[in-house]
Symmetry: C2
């Protein structure tokens, strides 16, 4: 490596006492073995990536994807206002650390949602905020409730802090509010994870059901209501936000309809004491400055959000048509993706998925039966979906031949 | 709040059994009290920001700073290549999540440092990586060694995971390698934090001393060698990197001479098993995409680094001249800042600091005696340092009148 030279002034006279041994002595080097004296918990965790990125596939295949419609990103991109704000910030202000309080963005989000800035915390995507929330309430053996087959990154965080996952089955491809609440009551869990709309199925519950769920949260527990896909859901899906209600914390993001997944800005809305607790553990200087100003600008462009939602709805319709044309069934979706029931088992859907990836179409699928009979296709551009439509028959034929 | 409407299709029929109560009933709302059922550890932690950002000062004063020379950012900004890469990425690719493996950036960093990509992990600044490293080795009561008055964010992470900080005094404004190693040996600590060059004093040890320190790391411990200020240090400050040596992990960043603090890209270099352990706990999708490509571009522009280092050296000289002209003593510095000995106690230096802030000059200072007799001034532009030179006499006069 090359280190630029600075002026040659004197270093400290301090020296470690006995033998001067400037070059490492291989014989004396510690033998291979535990590289870090890990905690018992850390020792027990696998070194794994919860999701393999499309770039890893592309490197393995040595070929780019023709359509990137697997990670529920928004192919429709960010608002021009957000693009301009981010470009200006990277050209000029990026030498500065971001404001660790994210003051301006929190004020704008508070106004947008009709809450106070003390009700909003910014994180490196919802993923980062989920990790902090889990950390605040989880120690060895703490029961934490989620749905079997829901967001794997939440489970990753629970395992990472030594919690004990209590998984409730889906009911008819929907998360099951009654069962989630019952599991929290029975186990005494301090935290329940519930996504509405749901990922990976795209299903949703109406606001009244969700509000009744909030009302039913057992004392001592909090509902983590992941609303990453809020903007593409029908009106009447999200209950009103009550900033006084400490029974629920809501997660939102700029990664979906705002088209800024790469900018890593998520946020949580909750009662002030809940939000304040994040200051105990968060990486205060972890938010990037271009993302902060991009999110602020995105919030000022509701027309872009509306236009993106219209494109998502058109894409959902098109995906359903493609599915039907191939004898498959698209599930209703309130999100920016559609789960397609391949009408067989998980092995079959995995074969379809492999066939699509081999044909340069990046898609993903649910991990857990019986949801794993589906593949999950993100809302793409017309060209993305043309490519998907062209590839699907061959992928299905291969899967039928193999299974 | 406004939620865009999507098409009105049916939500799930699932409903929580008994009473339909769509509006929250204030009487039934949980009484104020613990908002989250925090772990005992989380309960014990304060909700505080380790550093107050300059933006918070500006909001409190309702006036911007004339010179932002307190956070050891690089006022000289990023390479034009990095600016261009980031601007292009925010315009085009930012809708995509970043590659969770940061493959391209790690390959480039590995080549730059003469190691393998398995020896490099990327994080949201060194702050984020320090948190992960502490987490991997710390449980309740784990002793962790650092210097008294060294980087507060490291201490924040140790407290946040329940560790027990063992603080070793500075020796003559330098961190004390012998004492740090002895403290690790005596306490059985799994982790020793040591910054070279040091922040907040700007002092440094030569490579031979640091290498002897690495050789002396007790079995079962690892040295976290924070080299955030490596590039502005004299040749011969950093020992060669040995990617086989599991006794040391080295932290580097794009936040200092690369001028990209707001882009939040730090990295660690270490033995492959040490680096792999980060995959157990990191936020895999936490890195922003503009920062990734910006860092990659910055690495390809060593001329910008060299030019920035030249400007830093000129600024260090100028800061020393300003100090001397005011009867103060600038300490030798290998970093992009200079500690100025105000030649009195902490109360006096704090008064000088307050006087500078009141005069629109953002600077910071060490927290712990006797280092807190100093203020710490980052390498600024000539205009920044003109403003500092103009403000200092008044700040000193006020402090002398008050103390």
């Amino acid at each position: 490596m090359t280190e630029p030279a600075a002026e040659p002034t004197t270093a400290a006279a301090t020296a470690l006492a006995p033998a001067p041994a400037p070059a490492p002595a291989p014989a004396a080097r510690r033998a291979p073995g535990p590289a870090l004296r890990l905690t018992g918990l850390a020792e027990s965790l696998p070194s794994s990536v919860p999701f393999v990125g499309p770039e890893a596939h592309e490197r393995a295949r040595a070929r780019p994807f023709a359509a990137r419609i697997g990670a529920n990103e928004s192919v429709f991109g960010p608002s021009p206002a957000a693009r301009a704000a981010m470009a200006a910030e990277t050209a000029d202000g990026i030498w500065r650390y971001a404001d660790p309080e994210s003051h301006d963005l929190r004020v704008a989000l508070a106004a947008h949602h009709g809450v106070g800035m003390e009700n909003v915390v910014i994180g490196e995507g919802i993923d980062g905020l989920l990790g902090l929330l889990v950390r605040l309430v989880t120690e060895a053996g703490t029961p934490i409730v989620t749905s079997d087959g829901a967001y794997p990154t939440f489970n990753y965080h629970v395992a990472g802090f030594g919690g004990r996952l209590i998984k409730v089955p889906y009911a008819g491809d929907h998360e099951d509010p009654d069962a989630l609440i019952a599991a929290a009551r029975d186990s005494g869990a301090p935290l329940i994870y519930f996504a509405n709309p749901d990922n990976p199925m795209g299903s949703w519950h109406d606001a009244a059901t969700v509000q009744r769920m909030i009302e039913a949260v057992p004392p001592g527990a909090i509902l983590c209501l992941d609303e990453a896909y809020a903007e593409s859901a029908p009106l009447g899906t999200m209950p009103p936000i009550d900033p006084q209600d400490a029974r629920v914390i809501r997660m939102r993001t700029f990664s979906k309809v705002h088209g800024m997944a790469g900018a890593r800005i998520g946020y949580a809305i909750g009662a002030a004491p809940v939000i304040k607790a994040f200051d105990k553990v968060r990486n205060h200087f972890g938010i990037n400055r271009a993302g902060q100003v991009g999110a602020l600008a995105a919030l000022s462009d509701p027309d872009h959000v509306a236009a993106t939602v219209a494109r998502i709805i058109a894409a959902r319709t098109r995906i359903a048509e493609i599915a039907a044309a191939n004898g498959l069934v698209a599930l209703p979706s309130a999100a920016n993706f559609v789960a397609i029931d391949c009408r067989a088992d998980g092995a079959f859907a995995r074969a379809v998925l492999a066939g699509l990836i081999a044909r340069d179409i990046f898609v993903r699928m649910p991990f857990v039966a019986p949801q794993d009979r589906c593949i999950r296709v993100s809302a793409g551009t017309p060209a993305d979906l043309d490519a998907f439509a062209a590839a699907l028959p061959g992928a299905l034929a291969d899967a039928r031949a193999a299974c």
